[in-house]
Symmetry: D2
Subunit: 380 residues, 4 copies
Amino acid sequence: MTFENYKQIRDRSESLCTHLETEDFVIQAAEHVSPAKWHLAHTSWFFETFVLKKFLPDYNEFHPDFSFFFNSYYNAVGERTARNHRGLMTRPTIEEVFDYRGYIDEQMRGVFDNQFSDEVDEIITLGLNHEQQHQELLITDLKYNLWLNPLLPSVLNIKEYPNQSERGWLKIKEDIYPIGHEGDGFCFDNELGSHKVYLDDFIISSNLVTNQEYQEFIESGGYRNPDYWHSDGWSWVISDDIKAPLYWLAKEDKVFYYTLDGLKELDPNAPVSHISFYEAAAFAEWSGYRLPTEFEWEVASNKFSWGDRWEWTNSAYLPYPKFEKAPGAIGEYNGKFMVNQMVLRGASVATSPGHSRNTYRNFFHPHYRWQFTGIRLCKR
Amino acid sequence: MTFENYKQIRDRSESLCTHLETEDFVIQAAEHVSPAKWHLAHTSWFFETFVLKKFLPDYNEFHPDFSFFFNSYYNAVGERTARNHRGLMTRPTIEEVFDYRGYIDEQMRGVFDNQFSDEVDEIITLGLNHEQQHQELLITDLKYNLWLNPLLPSVLNIKEYPNQSERGWLKIKEDIYPIGHEGDGFCFDNELGSHKVYLDDFIISSNLVTNQEYQEFIESGGYRNPDYWHSDGWSWVISDDIKAPLYWLAKEDKVFYYTLDGLKELDPNAPVSHISFYEAAAFAEWSGYRLPTEFEWEVASNKFSWGDRWEWTNSAYLPYPKFEKAPGAIGEYNGKFMVNQMVLRGASVATSPGHSRNTYRNFFHPHYRWQFTGIRLCKR
Amino acid sequence: MTFENYKQIRDRSESLCTHLETEDFVIQAAEHVSPAKWHLAHTSWFFETFVLKKFLPDYNEFHPDFSFFFNSYYNAVGERTARNHRGLMTRPTIEEVFDYRGYIDEQMRGVFDNQFSDEVDEIITLGLNHEQQHQELLITDLKYNLWLNPLLPSVLNIKEYPNQSERGWLKIKEDIYPIGHEGDGFCFDNELGSHKVYLDDFIISSNLVTNQEYQEFIESGGYRNPDYWHSDGWSWVISDDIKAPLYWLAKEDKVFYYTLDGLKELDPNAPVSHISFYEAAAFAEWSGYRLPTEFEWEVASNKFSWGDRWEWTNSAYLPYPKFEKAPGAIGEYNGKFMVNQMVLRGASVATSPGHSRNTYRNFFHPHYRWQFTGIRLCKR
Amino acid sequence: MTFENYKQIRDRSESLCTHLETEDFVIQAAEHVSPAKWHLAHTSWFFETFVLKKFLPDYNEFHPDFSFFFNSYYNAVGERTARNHRGLMTRPTIEEVFDYRGYIDEQMRGVFDNQFSDEVDEIITLGLNHEQQHQELLITDLKYNLWLNPLLPSVLNIKEYPNQSERGWLKIKEDIYPIGHEGDGFCFDNELGSHKVYLDDFIISSNLVTNQEYQEFIESGGYRNPDYWHSDGWSWVISDDIKAPLYWLAKEDKVFYYTLDGLKELDPNAPVSHISFYEAAAFAEWSGYRLPTEFEWEVASNKFSWGDRWEWTNSAYLPYPKFEKAPGAIGEYNGKFMVNQMVLRGASVATSPGHSRNTYRNFFHPHYRWQFTGIRLCKR
């Protein structure tokens, strides 16, 4: 780990914001998203709290209130801004937040200038992976925040319409398979450790469900027939009046789709995106297939290409047999979310370069749609 | 299957209501519970809809509106009373509902008087298991419905304080185990079919967590420390101001507990009851143990005694590898609930005699507490 | 005041319930209505609390918990059942409530057997007027409670389609007029005392707006044009999806109306009923007229016939210049409601005989519709 | 009316924002407040929509979407941004909004350069009074928006602690008094026209209730005793957990108060501010006095000094006898709010210079507190 590695990842956060106006950094359109400003500051808070304050002798805090402002971890590291108030914090300004980032990076250079222990190396690595996760959230939150503006601003081009190959069906044989992460590379605690899972025979699609296929589901009445839906999913369809994926906009007989690069016509061949688990499962039911489990996905993943959409699996997010909570604040990270969420595997067009691996376990509540989520079909 | 078998199970539903006043049959204290009257009628509707109307020639419907009133299945079998309006249906009266039951039983005798196919036998068996499930709900809903009445009425004695053995720790060895139901006896679709699961070594408690142990958790600040809780669990503790299991009542330095037989002092040696999954998991975390998975539970279940409390497992309710949805209305039964719910294994003091088996998969959303739920500890 | 007077009014409460089933007495379909059982008990609680306990030596309370159960007055007379839990109180049973009524009446006979002071006479008179108010609520709450039952039960005939005279316009001259109650007869504290109000010239209709006129308003788009509505009224129309008066039911090109005597075709000549203040004001705006103030209504009331519908006025419910709060619990009665409510004048087909006078000030929040409310037009 | 008059009022809007950061212009902390940016734009939209587009030949709209963005009038002038989304409109930026203001002023100069009709003069006058109203809202909304920020920024000094004179009691004699606005000066439609009101004798305080007096109310248990409160007020105290006026902050045994110039110790002699009608009425009840009606206030207003706090009256906001709705969009202005709101009289430290008069009728729903509201006592 060198300061250049560190700085390259840190700089990417700022480069995502090149085309933002000052105002764009401020807002929070719903409790589950955060302002761009918050992501930029919170990722710096991580290095200040877990590296600089602990390991840099005589470190001077940038500002006494920032710890309160930009903490997202309840309890173990003190108080924090109420999650739904993040969009009201006009001060510190975005300029001050960039100053904060600059200050942290400068101080971190001091850490790198000296030799440091493996422990520090591990925390810095964790901090950089944490920053990459927030880079993806910064992108997806930005899309959600700007979507309600009738001007539908264009601020970032991340190629939201990737190419798709033809569909093929891959066969996997019944066997005991090793699941989970092993080896020296970085991984999160929820991927550890390698363990055995028994799988039956199954086939899995080599590509993702396309917008055109999803439109067929819609046109055949998919959103009006409870038979395809989980009970909780159907309640959600009714209460939220859901009729199409997020960011779809029908205008004069055409369907458009809001990308961070502005409104575009829907590309029929691109993989469908911004669907909830409920929609993914309903589509699978309608199509006569099913969603893979996360274990099936991991075992098959070397046989297909992935990385354009986070792929909903039919696995609930639960601890692996050898999972152990790390002590202290960093340990808050993953275990406390292991109920009510579904696992997504793969990566998306918004994922930071170098951040993906086939043991990675992403997870969201089943009704959320603001990530770049997609569908891969499977069958016994 | 004889009419006597049928009638014995049917009669038990009514015998549970011996001490109810007419008024007690009517109310519904929350959307997730139903009036006693509704359970008595809905279980009869099942036989009318799926047996009598289909297989008894010239069957005359008891009342043209009952199908609407007492249907709980959306879509496939037509319209139904809004779930949260069940407690407003003063008509038909309870007397009419008992007449309905009598009429259905009389007509069912006609079915039994003739020979019938295996298909009919299967549906009747399903109907009786369905009735037994509603007997347990009738009991637990009744408790919830009467609990808000300051008179805390006594209406039923089901021995809510069963004896508990001493704690021992049972060891299970790493291996591939068969999971799920096999053989000729009745089971629900979600238990089928037998499949292999790989388990690591673990130990599991021979008894359940007691009220006294749970009080220690409370007294040590268990409800005030987010470290023990899932993130969603902690939100629930805060928003619902949770401080103890359901039905606990502190009066003048003593803790009482509402049973269907009236208010009693809390028995320290009885297994704790009426806790949510969040509470079960938080207790386990606090104690240094964890909850078993449903697979661990099933494999170990022959080595301990069970049946007093539904035991929360750390398994989400998901389809088994060979799960298939049955076609038609009866198929609605289980698959559509396979998201957002946690599996409970075992049975409880409210479960109907003869209704239990160690492959049975019960399931509830993780915040619910009105069932007789308990905690069994486990560890790697 | 004789016991016979007392008993005649008390008996009417029970006579309204002749055709109710036990179950009908229990339910509460919304927080703003109460179960029939509650009205029967609460009116008895009034005599027990304010007469028997205070003025009958050696009075024995009927049941120690009834005070808690049937109190509606917060604070000054102790705790009470949460308002939205009244429909969950299955015990005491309706039979016990009738016993309670019998016991109270028997004890009250004891009061009448002796001479009593003017103070006691005043409280008994207040208690009987209070009972008459609850008789009207018993009727209107019953209608609301039974309305959600698809059987639309018939339980009471109160002639909901009264005859209407032809419309005429009455002229009132500008002047100073006395407003409020004077003299020896009973009145509520909010009608006291007579005071002067300056009125300009106005004309007022001799009859009420009919169903047919109201249908014209609907057909001309009245519920879709915000121009006719107050801002708060329009929000209510949108959020509650209001399209017609309460209890209207369109079936196969005809409009029906639920009466307590069952579903009937809408009578075009009957005065419109069950409309909110917002609807009354929007209708008036659409028609080019306005609602009278309560002062205009009172001054003109000797010139027209009234008593079929409570007539919404454009006066907010506020204290008269000489209004003073009575000390103690009975004083809670009227003053604390003097904000956010609109005054209704007259009486309705559900009002108890002998309970009306032209100084009577009824009041409800502007969105409520479950009373027999109507519209009288007016203009400068 | 000259362009200089016009420009002077318009410039004041911008001068209020001198110390704001770009971020401060964006946010909206609750649905009932608006972002500073929105006020600056909406007031310009008024001149564009009602003057420039109608009366300036060949006028070119500044931007085709601004009409949608900055319209607050539903229906009559087309679609508009959802009220609770105003804080999400990052684009147009504040810089563009200032450009918009500049453009409108430049175009308005064109209007003034030519002679114009009385109609145009009236609309410009209305537009300037409208702008002054929004200047006050800009101030009070800003305070509300910044209040949740733990930095409690200082952005404006408007002397929130005005001097108070000693209390005296002024006597007004029973009589018929003229109420309402007459003469040539500008007034809003709700003040027209002069009409007669009969008043009884009363006395009224020469000064406002102070912070110190209000603290006595709090210390004597004012927020814990329902006797002092309207029923709706008490529900509000309980549901919103109200214990003190808005913007009060207790720290280490001292009470502080957030002003737009930063946090200050509470000045005991300053008039209490930021209280709801419910609190004003409860204080009056506790003190043994009452709030004046708006008529009493108007008649007495020449005998005392006013203008520091908007004074809650006990009058509901209702039309005067001669009130008539102006046709078209401008007519939406006042009539549609005439239900559920209470009248405030006077003016406050946030009111624009030259905008006050003693016939002015301000109005808010009774639970709102973000205006500079105060209490004047009165008695029969």
